[in-house]
């Protein structure tokens, strides 16, 4: 036995899914090596034999046979292990003592392309990304057929390897941005990337930013739209979505799919989302401000109605509001944790029973329930779940400011949020940038 084979046996032999198999291909006796969990061995062998049967050699020697099987390669142990991990088959010719790297039939570990689970599409392409990075890039290539679309792939991590791909449209994307991103990825190629927090760190972005640095999407249509707008897209293997970089504020309100509607309807729908975000931010704060600090702003009829609905409520408005908001957040969190079949139960218990009971028990006022419903519903009009999380967090700032300074505090809270948003930037592009076409990114 060759020493190389022995080395492989020493380092991988304790894996039960690693195989060494004696085989005869043509006249040569070989050893096949690989991971049975990554390779469909039966089909691979069939293919090898079929290949040999059809083989019409010019010269009848072993080396041309090896070339027909795969790539003849001198490799050291670690390189070979990387190849095994990548799902490759290595064929060892015993008599010649030569390693041949062969492509194998991979065993199917991916789900089929399905409709998106986190985003809803009305009137648009509904196939969504899957875990396999190559499939995802292929879907993008299908969506946007252009020779300007470039794909760069990287391997990140020193212990675990993770494949990253950068997709950009060189005719639209700012070449400086692309160069910056590539440089950043290459310089941190030794870092492990298992989640988006890792990726944020690897790209040298602040991990403490409440607004996500990436706009995640499951839809090839959105990715294609982003490419044309000059964004760059990152794909990570095993993550079923594309990361659009940089994330800008308008992404919260616009979907590429909106452009499938007539223009006036598109404008109205987007305005509706803006109204939704403002309602989420302002409504709870406004309630607290008007009820506790500045009731004089209300019309007298409304003031009397509110006073009447709060009759007998023991807590001040801010406690009442925070209490109900937290219960609501718990309901939302619970319904995402639960299996789909139990989800509706929670909605019913939370929404109807708790809502009704809490009012009957005079813990909170009727009006508060209306405000909460409006807040939660309008929060869901935001595009992208990651964006709605940020908005959900910001509304507490406004609630607390309003509880202290009333309507003035509400305004101060909005100014604070605006100031925070304008302080964010990704690779030198401000978050509040509206357009990101080539050459315009510096105008902020």
């Amino acid at each position: 036995m060759d020493s190389f084979i022995q080395e492989i046996r020493d380092s991988l032999g304790d894996n039960d899914d690693f195989f060494f198999q004696q085989e005869k291909i043509g006249r040569a006796s070989v050893i096949l090596m690989g991971f049975i969990s990554l390779i469909d061995l039966t089909r691979t062998k069939e293919a090898l034999h079929a290949n040999m049967d059809n083989w019409k050699p010019d010269r009848d020697d072993a080396s041309s046979m090896m070339e027909a099987i795969g790539e003849v390669r001198e490799m050291d142990l670690s390189e070979a292990i990387t190849m095994f991990m990548d799902g490759k088959l290595i064929v060892f010719f015993e008599s010649e003592r030569i390693l041949v790297l062969a492509e194998a039939y991979p065993s199917l570990l991916n789900r089929a392309v399905e409709s998106p689970t986190n985003e809803n599409v009305l009137q648009g392409a509904i196939s969504s990304f899957i875990e396999d990075i190559d499939t995802n890039i292929g879907m993008v290539r299908k969506q946007i057929v252009s020779r300007h679309v470039k794909v760069r792939s990287f391997l990140a991590g020193s212990l675990c390897h993770k494949k990253l791909s950068l997709v950009y449209d060189e005719s639209h994307a700012d070449s400086k941005l692309v160069a910056k991103v590539i440089k950043q990825i290459e310089s941190s190629s030794d870092k492990e990337i298992n989640n988006l927090q890792n990726l944020t760190k690897a790209l040298g972005l602040s991990a403490w930013s409440s607004v996500p640095k990436f706009n995640t999407t499951e839809l090839p249509e959105e990715v294609a739209g982003a490419l044309i707008k000059g964004r760059v897209i990152l794909f990570i293997d095993r993550m079923p979505f594309g990361l659009i970089l940089p994330n800008l504020i308008w992404d919260m309100f616009s979907l590429e799919n909106d452009r499938n509607y007539p223009l006036p309807l598109m404008i109205v729908i987007r305005l509706l989302r803006v109204v939704g975000v403002l309602t989420t931010l302002i409504a709870p704060g406004l309630y607290v401000a008007l009820v506790a600090v500045n009731p004089e702003v209300l019309r007298i009829e409304l003031a009397l109605t509110i006073a009447q609905s709060r009759e007998g409520v023991p807590y001040p408005a801010i406690v009442e509001m925070i209490f109900m908001l937290i219960i609501l957040e718990l309901i939302i969190e619970a319904s995402t944790r639960l299996p789909k079949s139990i989800g509706p139960t929670i909605t019913m218990v939370g929404g109807i029973i708790l809502g009704q009971a809490v009012v009957t028990a005079k813990l909170v006022s009727n009006l508060l329930i209306i405000i909460l419903a409006a807040t939660t519903i309008s929060n869901s009009t935001v595009v992208g779940f990651q964006n709605s999380l940020a908005i959900r967090l910001f509304k507490y700032v406004i609630v607390i400011m309003s509880a202290m300074y009333g309507v003035l505090g509400l305004l101060a809270g909005l100014v604070l949020i605006c100031a925070y948003l304008s302080s964010l930037s990704t690779f030198g592009i401000s978050y509040l940038n509206i357009s990101m076409n080539k050459g315009e990114s510096g105008n902020g």
């Binding site: 008007l290 009820v291 003031a303 009397l304 709060r310 009759e311 408005a317 202290m404 300074y405």
Partner: protein, 352 residues
């Protein structure tokens, strides 16, 4: 270090905000109407408070006494279970006798203190306040805002009611050239309140009175929309649907002259004995001119410039002399009003 600074700032926001002084809306008393009267140097304050009960609103009238208004309100607040919040006061009812004695102090106090909004309406009550409020309480519906609705433009306001706010009264006290008219009300026989005209306030003192129809002309002169008013004459009644005023001012030596043209757009509602439209127009023009001249003569006599005629001479009289407007110029003012009526339509029937 940065985190420490942030923490310190956050702590200061909490400790310096004073948010523990905020009182929720259901722990505040929100009076809608405030009555002020003065007896033997002591202020008597009436507050009409709508009290939200289960499914309905009850009206409470509370009364306080004190040497100042604030003292009196404090007196009420101490005796009530909730804190009195005067910011929602929409109507201030002043005793007529008190108005005749002079309102300057009260109005200045309202303007100085922030607890009564300067937008609050001012009215004068032509009867004993105790009597007025007890009758109002008896007749008022469960809504509790009746008195306020009476003056509300999108509710019960009519063009023959003058609308004057606290800041306008305050302005008239300090302005050289402008006075105000304040509506006078009393409790009605079948309705909650009854409007009986407007008080003419000169420098914070009530000096004269004009009736409802004159107030309509006053409102028209103020370019207040008089839409909806039915003008009764010998031959017809009409609906005014639009009015505009053109004013031309001029000084003839020391005599100010004002030429005004009031344009009314009317719709005919009722006729008697088949008048022609020319007749109606002529009668309307003459009638209104006569009525106006009559009112103006009386106003000139009282020395109160509620029409704000002095405003048109601000650029023509030097400021040093302007302060004598009410005494030196206003009594000499020649006002020439032309009423021009346009009949927009005659309803579904034609006039000959």
């Amino acid at each position: 270090m940065r985190a420490l600074k942030l923490l310190a700032a956050a702590m200061m926001v909490i400790t310096l905000s004073g948010c523990w002084d905020n009182i929720d809306i259901n722990h505040r008393v929100l009076p809608v109407v405030m009555g002020v009267s003065k007896h033997d140097g002591e202020y008597l304050i009436y507050l009409q408070i709508p009290e939200p009960m289960q499914n309905t609103t009850q009206i409470k009238i509370v009364k306080g006494k004190g040497s100042t208004i604030n003292h009196a309100v404090d007196d009420i607040s101490a005796n009530l279970e909730d804190r009195v919040d005067l910011l929602h006061v929409k109507v201030i009812v002043l005793d007529k006798k008190y108005a005749e004695a002079g309102l300057e102090d009260t109005i200045s106090d309202f303007m100085r203190g922030r607890d009564v909004s300067p937008k609050t309406l001012v009215t004068i009550c032509d009867e004993d306040m105790d009597h007025f409020f007890s009758l109002v309480k008896k007749k008022m519906g469960p809504k509790g805002t009746t008195l306020y609705d009476f003056f509300e433009k999108n509710a019960g306001w009519n063009p023959q009611i003058a609308l004057t706010r606290v800041w306008e009264v305050y302005r008239s006290i300090h302005s050289y050239t402008r006075d105000v008219a304040v509506p006078i009300i009393r409790s009605g026989d079948t309705t909650v309140v009854q409007h009986i005209g407007s008080a003419v306030i000169r420098k914070g003192k009530m000096v004269s009175q004009i009736n409802s129809e004159e107030t309509l002309l006053f409102n028209a002169f103020q370019r207040e929309s008089t839409q909806g008013k039915i003008e009764v004459m010998h031959h017809a009644s009409v609906l005014v649907i639009g009015n505009s005023l053109e004013v031309h001012s001029q000084m003839d030596g020391q005599t100010p002259i004002l030429r005004c043209k009031l344009k009314l757009k009317v719709v005919i509602l009722e006729t008697k004995e088949h008048p022609t439209s020319d007749m109606i127009m002529k009668e309307l023009n003459e009638g209104l001119t006569h009525q106006f001249n009559h009112m103006f003569a009386r106003l000139q006599g009282s020395g109160a410039d509620i029409l704000g005629t002095g405003q048109y001479f601000r650029s023509k009289i030097p400021r040093s002399e302007l302060k004598d407007w009410r005494t030196a110029f206003y009594p000499k003012l020649k006002l020439d009003l032309q009423v021009q009526t346009i009949i927009e339509n005659t309803g579904f029937l034609e006039l000959s």
